[in-house]
């Protein structure tokens, strides 16, 4: 086994164990939040830990896409493009999961699957932007042009997010602001006890590790695909 294989396997194992621990803590170990009353709400609240973890991954995914895009335009090294597309795909997968878990949580808590809250709406639009990013890649023929154009779009995509969020926030919000706690109108918020804090922390670390492990595999897959393509061209 090569050094890279060993490193990737190690990362896989660590990430796997971390996710198992996070799942155990989130679903079994952590007590129900004290201020929630209905049993449905209490069960659904456990989703929150995973929801936040996936949120970290989606954010990481899109941030790394931005970094890869900028570095590709500056250096023109293909590896940055591979990192950008791999990360965007993972970001879209996790953003989909964030929207799904958010919906599952919202049903018992807000009594609706979906609401036009700024964070939800922004999340949905960010999801759409990166779908557009992947579609743009699919519609371009040359590998070099594909890398260049999607890098440009990757920069626009990321920078539009704060503006979109701001503009939507100036409509009323009902999303709980767990960390700043400055939103009295929010429903479903809960106080952060030490158990909850620890579980949340472990979950976010575990999901970040999972992102790293998946990225390592996805980038390698991209590299292998290119190698196969090169061999094919040599034969033709």
């Amino acid at each position: 086994m090569k050094a890279r294989d060993i490193a990737m396997l190690t990362l896989d194992v660590i990430a796997g164990v971390a996710v198992l621990i996070a799942l155990y803590m989130a679903l079994v170990w952590v007590p129900d939040a004290a201020n929630l009353i209905s049993p449905d709400e209490k069960v659904a609240q456990h989703i929150f830990y995973l929801h936040m973890g996936m949120n970290v991954d989606a954010g990481l995914g899109f941030l790394v896409t931005l970094i890869g895009s900028v570095l590709y335009l500056l250096t023109r090294r293909r590896i940055w493009d591979m990192i950008a597309v791999s990360s965007a795909e993972l970001g879209v997968v996790f953003a989909t999961a964030v929207l799904a878990t958010g919906s599952l949580w919202a049903r018992p808590t807000w009594n609706t699957w979906w609401t036009w809250d700024p964070r939800l709406t922004t999340a949905a639009i960010v999801w759409l932007i990166y779908i557009a990013y992947l579609m743009l890649r699919g519609a371009l023929e040359g590998a070099e042009q594909r890398a260049r154009f999607s890098a440009v779009y990757g920069i626009f995509a990321f920078l539009s997010v704060p503006l979109t969020f701001m503009s939507i926030r100036w409509w009323r919000t009902i999303h709980p602001t767990v960390f700043s706690g400055s939103n009295p109108g929010a429903q479903g918020g809960f106080s952060l006890g030490p158990h909850i804090r620890l579980t949340l922390f472990v979950s976010m670390i575990a999901f970040a590790l999972m992102y790293a492990a998946l990225m390592a595999h996805r980038v390698r897959l991209e590299q292998d695909a290119q190698a196969v393509q090169e061999l094919k061209e040599q034969l033709l």
Binding site: G142, A143, E144, Q145, R146, A147, Q226, Q229, E230, E233
Partner: protein, 242 residues
């Protein structure tokens, strides 16, 4: 052309790839001031890519390209003033008239005696009588003539002609022939590509054969006859195919 002439175009180890596909695989080439070089080669050999790199439209993946002593990768917009190009596409606007097209490009090149230059080049390509008509109404040959007028409008010392003779009728081809003879007589440095070996020989001082992204064969025109050139072309191209 004597060896004492300085190189206006100097290409060293030029490689160009589009993504994974390598189109030019290490080209070394010199064109000295006032020289006309004809490039031959089958379709897909990389002729157009080479011309586009010399025209600063495309960037080399590796290697050096110097135009007028200036490294192409570091050249500013100013160097473009000294280059004129005729490409496969006419590079003119359909809904404008021939004259308006030239006026537009005169502005792009900051020409100060625009009216006089426009009149002059229109005369040279024989389009004076149709200058007020929209390009949409031109025949294929007339569009090509306008494309040539556009390329020489700013009186560039370097001319790049990518298959200027394609799709021309007899009369337009005749005009092109005289025009190229005259342009090369004005000590302009010209690089052109063509599929017509005889015509290329007639126009150029030197010919080069581009096959599969490399220069496979190169000789001064004086040293080779049309028949010999055709034989050499066939042998080399066939040798590459098998």
């Amino acid at each position: 052309m004597s060896a004492t002439q300085p190189s206006v175009i100097e290409v060293r180890g030029l490689v160009k790839s589009f993504g994974r596909k390598m189109v030019l695989r290490g080209i070394d080439m010199d064109v000295s001031a006032g020289e006309t070089l004809a490039l031959f080669g089958p379709n897909g050999a990389g002729k157009t890519t080479l011309i586009r790199i010399l025209a600063l439209l495309s960037k080399a993946t590796a290697g050096h390209v110097r135009v007028g002593g200036i490294e192409a990768s570091r050249a500013g917009a100013a160097l473009r003033r000294y280059i004129g190009m005729v490409s496969h596409a006419p590079l003119v606007y359909d809904s404008l008239t021939g004259e308006e097209n030239l006026q537009f490009f005169a502005r792009m090149y900051d020409l100060n005696d625009a009216q006089q230059r426009i009149r002059h080049v229109l005369e040279q390509v024989g389009l004076t009588h149709r200058r007020r008509d929209p390009v949409r109404t031109y025949s294929r040959g007339m569009v090509q003539r306008l494309a040539i007028a556009r390329a020489i409008l700013h009186d560039p010392p370097i001319l790049l002609l990518d298959e200027p003779d394609t799709g021309l009728d007899q009369q337009a081809a005749e005009m092109l022939h005289h025009l190229i003879r005259r342009l090369s007589g004005e000590r302009r440095t010209i690089v052109l590509t063509t599929h017509n070996l005889e015509r290329g020989l007639e126009w150029a001082d030197r010919v080069a054969l581009l096959v599969d992204g490399k220069i496979a064969f190169e000789t001064p025109c004086a040293a080779i006859s049309a028949g010999e050139l055709r034989d050499a072309y066939r042998t080399i191209v066939r040798g590459h195919e098998t």
